[in-house]
């Protein structure tokens, strides 16, 4: 176990994280092991966030550092391979290009052992359909920061129903204006107020 890497990740020491990842890689430590150390550090970040020692700014930073470190190891695919739980598909709905909230959730989910498929922003319904068919997730997340895009989430969920993909997947929504009324309107399963709630809901639903 590389305590040094785990601690550097937990302390958001970007230079030390990148240096240690490179050093471990040079020593032929398997990428999956290195990712596991980073994930351990991210778990501490999550714990510190819950304890109000860290705030969203630290989560955003941790997402960046985790991504930079993963890139050295060949991208987020390696992180996915190290996942303990199932697949989580997420994107920001079409006509909306906001990414901060989505990035926080995808990183926190990845660091909590989910195999995250990040569809990006401005994601058309067809891409959700394709991702669900390909990855067969039990839970998907749709982010939205604009009330003008609520109808797009609604359309997306209706399409998933028509395509026969709705019954096997739980749909979580989140974002600044999204509330219970929105959830009812778009016919999603649950509103997540933050990333941690997404983790807890997904773990509970997947029985882990």
């Amino acid at each position: 176990m590389s305590k040094k890497l785990t601690d550097a990740m937990a302390d958001l020491n970007e230079d030390a994280v990148l240096e240690e990842v490179k050093a471990l890689k040079a020593k032929d430590v398997p990428a999956l092991d290195i990712i596991a150390y980073l994930q351990e550090g991210m778990s501490i970040v999550g714990k510190r966030f819950e304890e109000k020692e860290y705030f969203l700014s630290e989560l955003i930073m941790s997402a960046e550092i985790f991504k930079e470190a993963s890139d050295i190891l060949g991208g987020t695919g390696e992180a996915s391979a190290a996942s303990k739980y199932g697949v989580f598909v997420m994107g920001t709905i079409y006509d909306d290009i906001h990414d901060i909230g989505k990035n926080i959730v995808t990183t926190v989910m990845a660091s909590n052992g989910f195999n995250v498929v990040d569809l990006g922003v401005d994601v058309p319904t067809a891409k959700y359909v394709e991702a669900i068919r390909q990855y067969k997730p039990k839970v998907i997340g749709i982010s939205c920061l604009l009330t003008t895009a609520f109808d797009n989430i609604k359309e997306c969920i209706q399409t998933l129903e028509k395509e026969g993909l709705r019954k096997d997947v739980k749909i979580l929504i989140g974002g600044g204006p999204v509330d219970e009324a929105t959830c009812k309107y778009v016919r999603a399963d649950h509103v997540c107020k933050n990333a941690q709630e997404t983790v807890e809901y997904s773990k509970k639903y997947m029985g882990v």
Binding site: L12, E64, T147, P177
Partner: protein
């Protein structure tokens, strides 16, 4: 009653609320209301860019509709020509409806983050205004290339607005200060800026000192040139979920402290338009002079907490959620607004949307908020 007499009544109503006195009724001032669709449902958001004069006409007509005529604030006209350049505030490119986005989507900013780590030295050595120009160049924005406002048209449309008899009290048209913390977070992009705060806090603070000082001078001059009742200040990326109290104290609140003093010393109030959750930071606003500020939250800060902590110090506006007016029912909107009137009003309270009334708000929902406020 003439429009001028109506304006005087509305002005007295709003001034009473701003001064924490009891008005004849709770004023209604909706932010960013885009209710042209209430008049012509076939119109789309892209019309702001394609047919801005028609949008202005529809906004004026919407302000005369039954029930909505009770809204005290004037419609925001003349926006069309400004939208393209709005992204420059954040050193971002604009994605516009009908261009990069569908016709009825809301315009959005696409952050570019053109500022480098070395640029902090430029701010410190040469000043923020020098770097700001450089950053505009880097994102390909030339303020001089923007079409100048059509003075004749603006005079004509403002005359029509005056005939509505709405309040003439509004924010300064000359300046909209943005906390330097927020400006840097956009110039660097948020993740990078947060890393800067951690890696080189002294340098960031030194740059903020320069930027804050430049803004103090700019705001003072703008108020002296054209004294407004209040000046709007936006805050979106520094709620208590975003940053720690320590970071807020050291890097953010300094701006509010300096700018509020400049505004109050020159006879203007500070209108804090604070999006996201500010509950944990409300205690810092207790230091401001009584009736010198207005707190305008969106739905993410518990407005009843604001009343509890700041109700004796500043007027509160808010905070009907955009989701409620767009997908809620009239009954839900009425109940929400009634609760605000009873819990926050009647003194020192202005009924408002949380952030803004979205373009897909339903007319019957906005009407329900108005009816609840006027007690019908």
């Amino acid at each position: 009653m003439t429009p001028q007499e109506m304006t005087e009544i509305r002005n007295r109503r709003i001034m009473a609320a701003l001064n924490l006195e009891k008005p004849d009724r709770i004023p209604i001032m909706f932010s960013g209301q885009m209710d042209f669709k209430f008049v012509d449902p076939t119109m789309v958001v892209a019309d702001y860019i394609r047919r801005p004069k028609l949008v202005d006409e529809m906004l004026i007509q919407a302000a005369k509709l039954p029930i909505l005529e009770e809204i005290d604030s004037a419609p925001t006209v003349g926006m069309g020509g400004m939208i393209e350049s709005m992204g420059s505030i954040w050193f971002a490119k604009m994605k516009l409806p009908g261009r990069e986005l569908p016709e009825d989507a809301l315009w959005q900013i696409d952050e570019q983050g053109p500022m480098t780590e070395e640029d902090y030295d430029t701010i410190i050595d040469k000043g923020w205004s020098v770097l700001k120009q450089e950053l505009f160049d880097r994102i390909g924005f030339n303020p001089a290339s923007m079409p100048p406002p059509d003075a004749d048209y603006m005079a004509e449309i403002q005359k029509k607005v005056a005939e509505l008899g709405k309040t003439s009290i509004s924010s300064s048209a000359k300046v909209i200060p943005i906390p330097s913390f927020e400006v840097l977070s956009a110039a660097r992009k948020l993740p990078q800026f947060f890393k800067d705060l951690r890696r080189m806090p002294d340098k960031v603070r030194a740059a903020l000192d320069i930027m804050e000082s430049e803004d103090e001078n700019m705001v003072e001059q703008a108020i002296k040139d054209d004294p407004p009742v209040y000046v709007f200040i936006g805050g979106t990326r520094a709620g208590c979920d975003f940053i720690s109290p320590k970071v807020y104290e050291k890097f953010y609140h300094t701006y509010f402290r300096k700018i509020v003093k400049v505004m109050n010393d020159n006879g203007s109030k500070a209108w804090f338009h604070n999006d996201s959750n500010w509950e944990g930071f409300l205690k810092y606003f207790k230091e401001f002079p009584k009736a010198g500020c207005i707190f305008d939250p969106d739905h993410l800060t518990d407005i009843f907490k604001i009343k509890e902590i700041l109700g004796d110090i500043m007027c509160i506006t808010g905070n009907v959620p955009p989701a409620l007016t767009s997908v809620g029912t009239p009954d839900e909107c009425y109940k929400y607004a009634k609760k605000l009137c009873e819990g926050i009003g009647p003194s020192g309270f202005i009924m408002n949307s949380g952030c803004s009334v979205p373009p897909n708000a339903k007319r019957e929902n906005v009407e329900a908020v108005v009816l609840a406020t006027i007690g019908k």
